[in-house]
């Protein structure tokens, strides 16, 4: 259950822009430091104490209903939009 919870949290962090999504083509893995930093940013954004670990409050906030747009709009989101625009033009 714990590893499942962890992977769900990583998925959540990727989806809302805190982590770059893992890329299967380059076998990119998230570093431990990278994940901890992402959790801290997520906690700061959500008004929680910055611990860098998936504590109960953090998990609870992650399960709170929310808007599906990312909190951090980075390059991945821009790429996704460009792809969508190209698809539409085709």
């Amino acid at each position: 259950g714990e590893s499942d919870q962890y992977s769900r949290a990583l998925d959540w962090l990727s989806r809302y822009g805190y982590l770059p999504p893992a890329d299967p083509r380059t076998s990119q893995l998230q570093t431990k430091e990278g994940i901890e930093k992402a959790i801290r940013i997520m906690q700061r954004f959500g008004g929680l104490q910055e611990t860098g670990v998936l504590d109960n409050k953090t998990l609870k906030l992650m399960s709170t209903p929310r808007c599906s747009l990312p909190d951090i709009i980075g390059s991945d989101e821009m790429l996704k939009r460009k792809r969508r625009r190209r698809r539409r033009k085709r």
């Binding site: 954004f45 959500g46 209903p65 808007c67 599906s68 747009l69 909190d71 709009i73 539409r88």
Partner: protein, 441 residues
């Protein structure tokens, strides 16, 4: 606050609803309530910025119609790259402004139980809509508390008294400037005053705007689906159920009511047919039948099909006013000081109509109101509202002989115009020597 970097290059935005919450998931929300909630959600943003939002009628099957912000309720995968996930989890999303086809589009997860002032088992549509429209206007998620742009659901808000938090007000005003004469903001807060953005280049419309709206003299007034449309020249203004104007700026008739002849610059009368909600336009000696905002293909057709003749036997060649009297559900057409009554439940779609026996009658039978009114509507509790020049008279439901009816100002009461300076009291149109007073007179 955080801005997406994108904004609309105009202030007057249009919106439409392409699908509604499914009754099985959201049993307490009917279409009218959804529209009202969304109207108030837009109002939260227009209250503090120069933005205006006008709802467009649209055919939900036409995905390209519907203006700038198209609202829909969708489930799971819905072809935009942001699938929903069933109840809970993600609730809604919206696309930032821009030139993309999807720009401004706002999607709500149809698997949620959407509610208005519901309990904690449901999701408050108003709160989420205000948030999503913030995205549709160019705002990103904010970490500030309080802010409606926080990404997490915050529970229900009081729709009637809702005001954006400072963070959100400053954000929207950074993008679009401060509402002129409105909530100027920030005088009582220790924050730096933001410069207004340079004026945007918007399409120039010929706008009679304030003077025309406030001078009255409307060609036609109609209650269509619970909203009152005031037609004048080639424009109309639209007032919703709560008597709020959709916009102070008028809309070109030809841009909204599709199918009238080019150059139409005067509508004689309009009403919504009771039997099938089709909308009938009278212009000169012709009439058109509209489904929603599009004219049906077989029109225009001659007014003579209505079978109206004056007492002296002359065929009627124009209609001054038309309305359904809520008191009996019958249709009344007025022309040249006479009126005819029709029972449209018996009418065919195409074909000759016949006025009821005993008509025409003199319009003066409607005592206390001007006999040559501009138009008439049924409104609220079934009362009949007679409009003439810049005044209106209300005949209480079912009443015909209400001798003294004090007129009120159409401009002030309906079109959000300032009250004129005090002058002599308005008079009874059929007895000019008799003086009557209203609250200002």
């Amino acid at each position: 606050y955080a801005l997406s970097g994108l904004k609309w290059q105009k202030m007057d935005l249009t919106w439409s609803i392409h699908s509604y919450p499914s009754p099985s998931h959201s049993p307490n929300l009917n279409k009218e309530l959804v529209e009202t909630i969304l109207y108030y959600a837009f109002k939260a943003w227009s209250d503090v910025s120069p933005l205006t939002f006008q709802k467009q009628m649209t055919n939900s099957r036409d995905s390209k119609a519907g203006g700038d912000i198209r609202v829909s309720f969708a489930q799971m995968l819905h072809e935009d790259g942001y699938p929903f996930d069933g109840r809970g989890g993600t609730l809604a999303h919206a696309f930032f402004p821009g030139l993309d086809e999807v720009s401004g589009d706002t999607h709500f997860d149809n698997d949620e139980m959407w509610s208005f002032r519901g309990d904690s088992s449901s999701t408050d549509l108003f709160t989420v809509a205000v948030h999503e429209f913030g995205h549709a206007l160019g705002l990103s998620h904010s970490s500030s508390d309080p802010s409606i742009m926080r990404p997490y659901y915050q529970g229900p808000a009081d729709m009637n008294d809702f005001q954006l938090a400072l963070d959100d007000r400053v954000a929207i005003q950074q993008l679009y400037g401060v509402k002129e004469g409105g909530q100027g903001d920030d005088a009582d807060h220790d924050i730096p005053r933001l410069p207004s953005p340079p004026p945007t280049k918007t399409t120039q419309h010929s706008e009679p705007s304030f003077p025309e709206r406030c001078q009255g003299g409307f060609d036609a007034v109609a209650n269509i689906r619970g909203e009152v449309f005031f037609f004048k020249g080639e424009h109309f203004w639209r007032v919703n159920q709560k008597r709020s104007l959709w916009s102070l700026n008028p809309t070109l008739i030809k841009n909204f009511w599709i199918g009238l002849p080019p150059g139409t610059n005067k509508i004689d009368a309009v009403y919504e047919r009771k039997s099938d909600s089709r909308i009938i336009f009278f212009i000169g000696s012709q009439y058109w039948v509209f489904i929603d905002n599009k004219a049906m293909g077989d029109y225009p057709r001659p007014l003579s099909e209505w079978g109206m003749r004056t007492k002296s036997g002359v065929p009627v060649d124009r209609v001054d006013a038309a309305f359904i009297w809520a008191h009996n559900g019958k249709t009344y057409l007025f022309s040249g000081g006479e009126f005819w009554r029709f029972d449209e439940s018996k009418a065919n779609e195409l074909g000759t109509r016949h006025p009821d026996q005993g008509y025409p009658r003199d319009s003066s039978l409607w005592e206390g109101v001007p006999p040559d009114m501009d138009d008439v509507i049924s409104w609220e509790q079934g009362d009949a509202y007679f409009f003439k020049d810049n005044q209106y008279w209300v005949l209480k439901s079912g009443g015909l002989n209400q001798d003294i009816i004090t007129p009120k100002s159409t401009a002030v009461e309906w079109l959000w115009c300032p009250a004129p300076p005090m002058t002599s009291a308005p008079t009874n149109p059929q007895n000019p020597k008799e003086c009557s007073c209203d609250v200002r007179g």
